[in-house]
Symmetry: D2
Subunit: 343 residues, 4 copies
């Protein structure tokens, strides 16, 4: 087998059903800017999947864009967003949030997660500080599911964070770049309706979950963000051919395709994880989703990388490295078996 890639979950095109839908709709005239019938159908299916009948749903092109647009839309001009220090917006988005004028206020990360009690203490102490008006006020909270480390918030954890936010009157935003892999994970107990009930805004990731591109931003409470189309356009993020995204999400939310895509990745990840453990590899930490972080000797990493593309994650002080193995909606049984065979 040609050197397969486990580097990331966005190295292949799109699920065949999406290509088919694009083909079928290709020469139909559609309205621009997401006002078309495909987008409307997709929105309605997402509302049903989220049990959020009044939700505003908007399709954007990518994850950093969705984060920047929505965080900017949720914050007042003088506020900042709270995130784990490891949060994608704090580390790997080139300062897109700051570009919009907002500070990222960091909390300690626990394998990518923030803790409700630490969030509560942070907010309470902040507003108890007599100088707080000279500081950047927390105006939204950012989390991701799964996190940067592939870990998951449990329903209890998410509920606790949501309660802290609502008590403080601060909206909770969830980055769902890889949400399909969270939803399909056996260890997960947080459903789309849970997310819609507990978060004030979130996005359902398409780019890393089987679409050519695209993320579906969901705002469960209709009208919470005024003039979102204008704000999206101001950010340069409005898709003229919004129907291209609409067709994709319409397909992803037909016959549970989004969940099935996630299951494909999870089955592959679980088989690989089991094989690694069986063969005595050390996992860096317990990430239950489609990303596996394995500790390797440098020579071992080099040898494996010759045969299969892995993602580099981190150098350890003892000379070893952490490599990331990511499965996806497009990972095949052959690829999994091959990878296991070379471990």
């Amino acid at each position: 087998m040609d050197r397969p890639s486990f580097e990331s979950d966005y190295t292949k095109g799109t699920h065949p059903l999406i290509l088919e839908a694009l083909q079928k709709a290709n020469l139909v005239h559609s309205a621009g800017y997401g006002l078309d019938e495909f987008s409307e159908a997709a929105r309605e299916k997402i509302r049903i999947a989220c049990d959020a009948p009044d939700a505003d749903v908007f399709f954007l092109a990518g994850g950093t864009q969705s984060n920047a647009v929505m965080i900017d839309a949720l914050l007042k001009s003088w506020q900042g967003v709270v995130a784990a220090s490891s949060g994608h917006i704090n580390t790997h988005e080139a300062g897109a949030v700051e570009f919009c004028g907002h500070k990222v206020l960091t909390l300690p990360e626990h394998f990518g997660k923030i803790y409700a009690d630490e969030l509560e203490t942070f907010i309470r102490d902040f507003f108890a500080d007599e100088n707080f008006e000279h500081m950047v006020m927390p105006g939204a909270v950012y989390i991701s599911q799964p996190t940067e480390y592939g870990t998951l918030y449990s329903l209890d954890e998410l509920t606790a964070i949501s309660e802290v936010c609502r008590e403080a009157g601060i909206p909770l935003y969830m980055d769902g770049a890889r949400l399909a892999y969270a939803l399909a994970c056996p260890a997960n107990d947080v459903t789309l309706p849970d997310i819609a009930a507990l978060c004030d805004a979130f996005y359902i990731g398409g780019t890393k979950c089987g679409a050519l591109f695209g993320e579906a931003v969901v705002i469960p409470q209709h009208g919470l963000v005024p003039h979102l189309l204008t704000q999206v356009k101001q950010h340069g993020a409005l898709l003229a051919k919004g129907f291209i995204a609409g067709i994709q999400f319409d397909t992803l939310f037909t016959d549970d395709l989004y969940l099935k895509l996630g299951q494909t990745a999870m089955n592959a990840a679980d088989r690989i994880r089991a094989a690694l453990i069986r063969k005595g590899y050390e996992l860096a930490f317990g990430s239950p989703t489609n990303q596996i972080f394995v500790v390797l000797e440098k020579a071992q990493a080099d040898r494996l990388s010759e045969k299969a593309a892995l993602g580099f994650w981190e150098n350890l002080d003892d000379g070893r490295v952490i490599m990331r193995i990511a499965t996806s909606w497009a990972t095949t049984d052959e690829e999994v078996e091959y990878l296991i065979s070379i471990l």
Copy 2:
């Protein structure tokens, strides 16, 4: 025939050859962020088509985004961009340039165009003003080809503007959202190599010219804009699956597809234009490209609109309206004949 649409050039999906290419490449592993082989092939073909062997080429998702990212990248933080008062960035981009902190400095528009002599006078007077340091300095010039009114800069006009810019040390940027229709227009004498020689940055539009989405930003002088990838990401504009855009532009620049697409639209537009003139319709102004602006009695407009979707442009003071008829890469002979038959 079902009511065909001439409302705009972005109402249908993509050229069948692009769908075919996406299908073919669908399950190939590609590197992210535009570092893949399809993007590299597309870049090389664009360099050849532009006769700009050192050009930096970058694929973005849309036009407003390309304008905002590139204008922000070309300007110093305290500078503004000069544009016709009718320029898209000044009117219909929701303030995306101002969102980046920059003022749009307007010149009079002449059917969408600026004049080199007026630009020269503006720049000379600006820096002759003893208070110019209290004002927003012109730091880039924005034009579009074709313009908002479907008109074209001639090679002489573009050369004159370019000379003014270079004399003043101010980069010239061209918005080519509909560039295919300019290039294929019989009245046009400005080639891609001309544009690359005369402009400091421009984009070759895909979204309105046969792609699912995407624009190819071209910077003829390699390195003129430092760290463009980072700046693109900071704007939330970096495509994780850049190869999806790469595949499309690779296809558009194979076997002159981009020009051929333009010709399809131009043939359709020229036939419609001829029919309109033959039947005594009044054209609002002489736009030679794929957009036709026709002056209609209100009743006439309503009657036609029942049978074919036209674009509303403007109410005239005398009660008549200007309607826009836009053809595209996807306009069929049947649609043209039908439209002519109902005129």
Copy 3:
């Protein structure tokens, strides 16, 4: 007499009573950030002068700063501010409004003023445009009293503009950089209580009206702008020693000093204006306040400028020039007589 200066109204220090007050308070301990007793006393006197008992009053260091902070505070992130094309924010503030991410939407200027009916039409047409969500929405209206041309809004004109704004739900903001000269002008019929009743925010200029520096921002409706201290600090505009501004405004609003300062300037201006007319000079337009715009032959301008410093305003096409003569709170009788003597 040494060549006196009529170049502008900010060439001398401060009114002697202000220096005296600073001297007297110099070694008193005061709280920082405007929380001191002098500032509170000044605020209370301003509330009384404006007949606005609930007004929020904030002291800032300069005019461009006040405009930028307040316009940014009044606008939503996606909105722009409407102003006359000649408005200071549109021409001579180096893009400070755009730096905050907002577009300046221009209306025609009529000797520096906007007309209520043109504003009404602009707003109505804007929201009637089916594409308005792709455009920058008007979110505040900027005027100045007196205007850039030294002209005044009458009470009728201001009332009409205010009514248009309130009908549209758009706040009205007045730049009062030279407000003392408006209030003291015989032709003026707009009082501070009128302004407080008709505008949603405005500033009472100190820098050009007898203070060392400083402007008093007034927001008649308490709480209209939330967390203004934080927004001011975010703009780098919070004065640590706010009491220095407080002492000055406390003095300016004791025993009507602010009005008296204006009268000094107005008496001087009226005498000069009368002399100019008597001697047959041509005034460029009828500005009734402390700025006089006189049309001169170039040689005449040079000859006068040798003896007294005048402000250059504009070159006319016929070779003549418009020069500005500005009086101020510090203009002396001797200076006026000398200037008249050399006319």
Copy 4:
């Protein structure tokens, strides 16, 4: 004695010599925007004091403003500024740096200081990261002298940081809000010429060091920041009556007043510090400048605060509190003796 204040160093007006100079210059005509003779004289004296004959010197109104303007001016649009996590820009400036679009990249603080080796490692690791183009690049380094904790960089430490910056091609910026107190501190070995030689920009604080308001930004290498006047104006920070700041700095840099002011504060602080130690008080950490941080029982703090105003700094976990005692240019012997008497 009336309850004296040791809460901060900006609670009194200005040094009598400055008031005298303002008085003397009060009715002289001066050019606007810092183009006057007082400002030029002040600039020249500062150049001499810094042994930086080509330096650009600019007067701004406050510290947060100076930091925001200069950091924005030094950074490229996609870069961030490195600072100690305790740095004023990171904690108490309401996100003024982020408002300009830039991220603050934090390093660990050691009693307010960053360490050269940690800075070096941060920069090296940053650019060694294969993903660095997706992250916010360090584009300037911020330090303050004295720091937030009243501590000082030694000449060796400052030299080491400067070398790391120059090796990396990253400008070094120093916040000198309380620089007079550093320069006058017996423990200090860093002179103004050292700072000018080792930093690329810094400001000499006036607001907290005896001026009514104002900071002198110094850029040793002429022209390093282009069009600074325009950038200052764009930030709303240009003083129309720049001469008011110029007069103050002209006075501060005549006959070493700036140093003498510092010595007054240092003498007072050293006497208080000695008394505290003598009387067995616990100092929170060894700050040698005009700020003293003393650990008190809550009841003790309350008792002292009744008699003299102290600054609250921090609650400790054991129930005790840290209070700040700040002396200033205006602290009198009587105040010092009184404070010592009540300890």
